[in-house]
Structure formats: C-alpha cells, structure tokens
Symmetry: C2
Subunit: 525 residues, 2 copies
C-alpha cells in the first residue's frame, strides 16, 4: 500500500459542493442570532441496500479530509453573495469567511464496519450554522462510498474467497471522481485490484491490466518491429527473434489442435508478440478479437510456448465475450492437453480471466464449484450499483442547545429519532452479532451479561436481551479492508444472505422510546 | 449564465484517470515502434438508454478541457514506472513525458444533439499511443454526461414545458464530481435549475433552494431573535415586530380554517418568521415538518399574510412527504379561499413545490392536466439514472495507418464497423429526422433530393431513401440547451416515446457494407 496523498483530491469536495438551501438556512440562522447554537446531526440510512440485511460504513477518510480543509474562499463567498439577497448584512459574509471545522466534533462508525438502518454512520456536533453547511458534502461523501463498498462485499461473498476480483468500471462511472471513489471503496469491500491508475497513485489500491482489443486489432501482421529479439529470462545466451520462434511453435500447436496454420489471424499473433516483447515476464493473451478457438487460443499458445523456451511463463489469458464459463472449461482442457503434449507443466494452470457485463447472477455461475475461471473483471455492476444506485442516506437534526429535536412529517418512515444518541452493538457468547441498541447519550452503557429491556422500532412492547461487548479509531484503507472481512464473518448466515427477509434488529432503549412518545404527544395535542 | 471557470476542475479528469491497460498497451506500441502510427478511434454506444429511441450527446466541453490540459507530470510518470516492469527502457518514460494532444483531432456531435446507436459521438484521430491513452477518460467524461442529459430530457418530456424542474440530487450522486456532472448536464437536458451551488459557481447553472426540515425543527418557539423588526417593502414607515404580527394573523387564519390557535407548532412558526426576516422578498414555507394541515399551512399563511401587510409576497411552499398531488390540490383550494377571505389576490397563485423520490411515473402523475403543482424537485431519479445507471459507451479502433480495423469477436453485437467514417443525418421535407447514414469518410456526401441506397445493420438487402440536409461548432451550455429543445422537437412522436419499440434507423452506405463483408470474408477463410 502506497501512502494516501492527494493534494488535488480536496478540490473534488469543496465547501460550495452543497445545496443552496444550506446557504439560505445559514443566513436564516445568522439573522436569528443562532449561528453558534450547539447542534447535533446524525447521518444514517433507513433501509439496507440491494434487498440485503447489511451495509458497510465507508467514506470516513474522505469526510475527514474534507472537514480538515473546510474553509470558504473569497471567490466562494462572493458567489454566495451573488445568489443571496442584495441587501444581506455584510457581517454575515464576514462570518462565512471566518468559518472552519475547528469546533466540529464527528463520531463515526469505523471505516468498513457493518452499518444498519437508523444507526448513525456519523454523529456531527458543533455550531448550528457550520454543521448545517456540512450536510450535503458529508452525505455525498458517505452515501456512495458506503454503497459501493457494500456492493463489492456482496460480490465478494458470491465469488468466495479464492477468485481474484478486478474492478474495471472507471469508464462506466458516474463522473471522474465517481470512478476514483468506486475503485477505492470496491477495494475496501473485498476486490483484489482495480484497473484505475489514479486509484493506485492517490489511494494505494493495487492496479492491474494488460491489453484491449484495440491493441490486437491495430496489428495486421505486416508490421516490422524495430527490435524483434528477446533475451532469455536467465539473462544468459543470445537473444532470439520471438516472432520467428512463435511461427515455428504455431505449426506444432495447429497440428496438435487440428487447425490449418493459416487460420489463426496473423495480426493477432503480431500483437501478442509485440506485447510479449514489452512484457516477457507478464505476457497475457486477449483471446476473442477474432475467434477464440481458431485464432486467439492457438496464437496465444504459440507465443506462450516460444516464451517458455526462453524461460518465461505466460501469466494469463482473458475472454471478453461469449459464454465465459464454458469457454474457460474448454480452454483449461486445451491447456492441460498442450501441457502434456509439449511437456510444459506450468501451462496447465495459466490463470483464465473473464469480463463482460458480469452481474451478481453471472458471477455466481462463474464462481460455481469446478469453474476454471481464476480472475473476474467487473465494471458496471460494481461501480454503478445498478440494483440500487443510491444508498439514500439522510442527515437529521437530533438536538439543539442540548434539547432533542424530532421531525414528525406525513410519512411515518421519514420520522426521526430525537436526541443525542449512542449506539451499542450487542454480541452473543460466540461473538456473533445479536442486535444494535440505540439509546440516549446520557444513558449508562449496557453491560455484558446483564439483562436489557429494548424496543424494536414501532413495537408496542419492549423485549429483553442479555448480550456480551463493543468500538475503534481511524485505520488505514488496508486495515479497514481487513475489518470488512472480519465484519462480514460476524453476520449470521441469514443476515449474510443477499436477499434477506430477516433483517438485523436495531432497537431502542426504554428511555429513547419514552422520549419519542413524549415528543409525539407534545406535537399532537 | 456566468462564464465557465474551473481551474480545479481539471484535477477531476487527469491523464492517470485511466485503466492500467492503456499504459501497458502504450508500452507495447512503443516497443513495437508504432507509438506514432496514425490511428482513429470512434466513441459510440450500442443501444439507446432507458428503453427509449434517442440519446443526447454531452460531455464534449469536459473532453475539450481535458484534452487541452493533457500532460503527464513527473509524479504520474514515476507512478507508471512503479507498476511497469523494472527493466522498461527509460526512453519510453521520456516519450510519455513529452506527450500532449497537439496532434490529436477530435470530431464530435455538437453538445446536446441527438445521438443514435453506432453513430460516433467522438471521432478521435492522432498518434496511436496517445489516442489509446485517451480511451478511458473520454469514455468516463462522455458516457455519464450523455446519460444524465438524456435522462433529464426524458423527465422534461414527461413534465411538459410549463412545470419548473429543479435538480437536487447532489447528496445522492456517485461521488462529488458525479454530482457536478449531474447538475451541469441535467440543466443541459432541460431542467430549470439545480440545488448544487458548485454547479452555479463553476458551470453557470441557475441555482435554487430555500430551507430544510432541520431549519424548522431547530426552532422551539422560545428563541429571542436579536432583531425582530422588519421594515416595509417600500422602505418607508417604521418597522414592525414580524413574530407579533404573525401571531395576530394566526388567530384570523385559525378561525378561518377551523383550527385551535394552539394547534400550529410554535417552533415551526418561529422558523418561518426567522426565514422571513432573512428573506422577506423570497419567503417560502416548508410545510411538512409536523402536520401540513394543522401546523405547516396555518403557520405559513400567518407569516405570509404578516409579510403581505408590509408589502412582501411569499414566493412558495414546499411539500416533501405524503401524497404530493392531492396535498397540492388541497393547498391550492386553501390559498384561493384565504385569498378571497383576506382580500390578498396574489395568495391564490403562490407556487407549490414538491419533492420526495420522484421518478418518471410519479412525475407523470404530478404533471397531469389540472395539477396545481408548479415546481418539482428531483434528486436520485435524475442523477443516478436508476433505470439504467450506465450508457455503456465504447471506444473502438477503426483505422491504423489509413487501413480499416474491425473487431469480430464471439458476440455479433460486439463487432465493430471498420474504417474512418462520416455520419449524415437525413431529414424529410418537413425537417423531421428520417435516419442516420454511416459511410466511409472518403465517400461523397449524400445530396438532398437524390436517391440513396443504404443498408440497415444486419440486413440482407439494401433499401433506398431520398432525403433533404446537416452540422455545427462548440456552443455555450445555454446554446446547447436550446439545441436540446430543438433536437427533441425533430424526433417523430414514436421515437420520442420513452419506451419505444420503433428504434430510429442508423444505416450503412453500400461501400461501408461492402467493406464489412470483405473483412468478414478475410477473417473467416
């Protein structure tokens, strides 16, 4: 893992990356003399995404980066002045110029930990005007990061621990920064690597990639490389003309496969030779530019065997069209037969990589028992989260000046839970998760082994539980990723199901339930 | 429209915002002595999004900005060196350092114009190594911009020309830059404004916004504003205590509505008064923090009538939960009755704004004949494009060194059309679109009034058409937006349908079809 360094990343989330109403409300608070009232907001979601029973909290590192740099520049304040009433008191703009987050406190679920409906991912407290201004950027930074991390974790659960998963969705991402976010947080969620170079440079995500069809089709076979010679891997002995050697091997391969030596496309072979000359230690063939069976595969074998003679081992093949599983099985058979025929045992286990609009269903098929697929590249399905492209996080005021606040509204589901709260994650004696309890911050923490009365949301009566423990600081991306694996292992099998009828319970403490009841009663005389 | 100025925007799309295989292929081309071969790529999509028969081309302005600034910095080259083979020739990295887009030519559909499957949105030609490196960033910049512009245009078609559409999806966007892109291109596609302040500052998109529930619920009613006085709109005469005046009006309003004067929430009223003190010329009430009928509406009327006495007119109300259409109809009735009762005619037509997860279906209901809704805020549905979150654009090599190139592959749909091409849009005598013709660049342009033989893709036989004209330069965002309106009006009613069984035709010229046939024959001996 390279260190995270991104001086320009701050440009992506700036103070003005916000909804105008945050600025108009800021003026409203200021005019009412309330800019510095102590306030607390909670950022949470109301339903787990994708029909599952879990989500992962993510994006905290981006939030911290944003909060540290938060400062309105002169140009920002001037722009706000241009869209607010012309007679606005200049002192308001002076106040905006003075703002930073030095008085803001953020408590958060650790990056990569499990998150459940209603349990705050972030609890943000500080002066009312500032914490209001933070709403939109924090939502923007947390929602998508958490969504894509959750999506990646689901794909990892489907793929099982052995398959290598490559995120390659940058070109399908919703904007450049969406791509960077997707690559970072799909790695967090359990992918092995990303095609996105910037994610490697700025976030330390391992990057991977070889060649595309354009490289293959750009060669006709009549090109003359300036230097066709390749030295042996051991570095001793004379170099050989790789294209000439591949041509010799092609005859053996075609005879072995029962193909005419004219059938494999000469341009494709020239492309493979060119790639092998540049990457003798990491040669990979993309097999489906013309015909896998009659062209891609024999050309790959010819070049791989020529390289093998010089002591190099090909590192893989890739398929990007057709029935990927079936082709992988056939290719593995060909590899095994050729390994035996030409006495090159390493050829048997050359990794087979596949890609082409792979979604959860297709992935399950590719990951089935006996599949010969080793590496799976996923783009659109991981980065755009097509099953549910938004997590729908909200950021709600829960207290001002120490007094609880609650939105009642016309939709019961959109009601909020009042008061500054603490959340505890209750575990059973085997360490597995039982439920999350939301309680008021001033309540004493639950104790292991002690019975606790709690209210499932909307219940008419409380129930009792007897739990067993709890929280952590801001770790590195790699540590957070390890936490994801740990977190997922703590879910019960039924909560790990990707379409889960049994939702993980988040319950209220008795006092929190009593506060809800009293605020309801006060608002409905 | 403010000028577009975004020095930091360049940070979003940088040369390393690309797939690693572009860099490995670059090394392959360079090693093969082909870095400077003349190449041409086409960027296009294969199917119109959302089940419709049209898409809009967008993102060109971001591409131009990216191409102008394209340059690998030392840190970029160093990072690439760290992920490429350690024995890579240093001259390759020198070559990378020298790259820019001065030899790259881009031909493009004008921003905002109609785009159809297979017709290039961009045609990019230049040195092979450079134009290969541009693939991922150009796809990233064009695909989502075009998708969201198309999505916005669909929503505009559903809403009709009268409703005001506000984009407010920043918090649901896939990453900060996704939010900026969404706000820019939903405006291009036909929205009236955005909540996204940064889109106003950097792209000149009109911004809008007033207040959220947190503002309302932050007030209990016991707060004492430092300055409760408001001067009359005309600027003459003494100021009045707005809260006291609203309290007087509340009694009249409650009597008129048959409500007890204790029912409306005092905190909500205090919030409205605070907002009105800050925005007397632009007072808007958010009605559903507690109860629309028993609290939000009477409190709004009390404050609006108090303001009215001072010569100010409220500019709107907003609803964010419940049955939006039905509530709008009821609120309009209350406005009409109150306007008559209190002899304030302007109250009748106070705009009603609504929001709350509005998708195409909900929008159609809100836009129906007789709807009293005036302003519609749409977030998730416009920015994340949940019906289809990716346009799936591709970037394919069509020629190298003047020679046509074609990918055949295992999926017929993934085959490409070879050769440097030109596209013509044929129109009927009434100006409506007939079809697009793709032909080889060297073919003479079709002539108005002359019969033309063309091949629908995959057809066994050509057909003939007799058309009537054609293209434009890079306009401003506002001009492009006007073009969108014009473009949509040229679609036939059946192609404008949002689920269109009748797809707009894109056909091949006779010579292009002949070239396809010959390359097929050559690859399948």
């Amino acid at each position: 893992m390279a260190a995270e360094q991104d001086p320009e990343g701050r440009a992506a989330a700036r103070p003005l990356l916000t909804d105008l109403y945050q600025a108009t409300m800021a003026l409203g608070y200021w005019r009412a003399g309330r800019a510095r009232d102590a306030a607390e907001f909670e950022l949470f979601f109301r339903r787990c995404p994708f029909g599952g029973a879990f989500a992962l909290a993510a994006g905290l590192r981006d939030c911290v980066r944003f909060l540290r740099a938060f400062r309105l520049r002169d140009a920002d304040v001037q722009f706000l002045a241009s869209v607010l009433p012309p007679d606005t008191d200049p002192a308001f703009f002076e106040h905006l110029r003075s703002l930073d987050c030095s008085e803001v406190t953020v408590r958060a679920l650790p990056e990569g930990s499990l998150a459940f409906p209603g349990v705050p991912l972030l609890q943000v407290s500080g002066p009312l005007l500032v914490v209001q201004l933070l709403e939109t950027p924090l939502l923007c930074l947390v929602s998508y990061a958490s969504l894509v991390a959750t999506n990646a974790a689901r794909l990892r659960l489907i793929a099982g621990p052995e398959k290598r998963l490559l995120e390659m969705g940058l070109r399908r991402a919703q904007g450049p920064d969406g791509g960077l976010t997707a690559s970072t947080y799909s790695y967090l969620g359990g992918f092995d690597s990303s095609s996105n170079v910037l994610a490697g440079q700025l976030r330390g995500v391992p990057v991977a990639g070889t060649l595309a069809h354009s490289f293959v089709t750009s060669f006709s076979g009549s090109e003359v490389p300036p230097d066709p010679m390749l030295a042996p891997a051991a570095g001793e002995g004379p170099g050989v003309d790789l294209a000439a050697k591949a041509q010799v091997w092609l005859e053996h391969v075609c005879a072995h496969l029962g193909l005419g030596v004219q059938e494999p496309h000469p341009g494709e072979r020239a492309a493979f030779v060119a790639y092998a000359l540049a990457f003798p230690q990491a040669f990979q063939g993309l097999l489906d530019s013309y015909s896998v069976r009659r062209s891609g595969l024999p050309n790959f074998l010819a070049v791989a065997l020529a390289l093998g003679e010089l002591g190099y081992r090909a590192v893989g093949v890739r398929l990007d069209s057709g029935d990927l599983l079936q082709q992988a099985q056939e290719i593995r058979k060909v590899f095994r037969a050729a390994a035996a025929q030409f006495q090159v045992p390493w050829l048997e286990s050359v990794p087979i990589a596949v890609s082409n609009n792979i979604d959860e269903e297709a992935l399950a098929r590719l990951a089935q028992e006996g599949s010969e697929v080793n590496v799976i590249g996923i783009g659109t399905s991981v980065v755009t989260c097509p099953q549910q492209p938004s997590l729908g996080c909200v950021y709600k005021l829960v207290a001002v000046g120490g007094q609880p606040r609650m939105k009642l509204t016309e939709d019961p589901e959109k009601q909020t839970l009042p008061g500054s709260k603490a959340a505890f994650r209750l575990r059973g004696s085997d360490g597995s998760l039982l439920m999350d309890v939301l309680q008021l911050a001033e309540e004493p923490a639950p104790q292991a082994g002690q019975e606790l009365r709690v209210w499932p949301p909307g219940a008419q009566e409380p129930c009792t539980v007897r739990p067993a423990q709890l929280c952590e600081p801001l770790p590195s991306l790699a540590e957070s990723r390890a936490l994801v694996q740990l977190s997922l292992s703590q879910l019960s099998p039924e909560h790990r199901r990707l379409q889960s009828p049994a939702q993980y319970q988040v319950v209220l403490s008795e006092r929190l339930q009593a506060l809800v009841n009293s605020l309801h009663a006060r608002a409905s005389p």
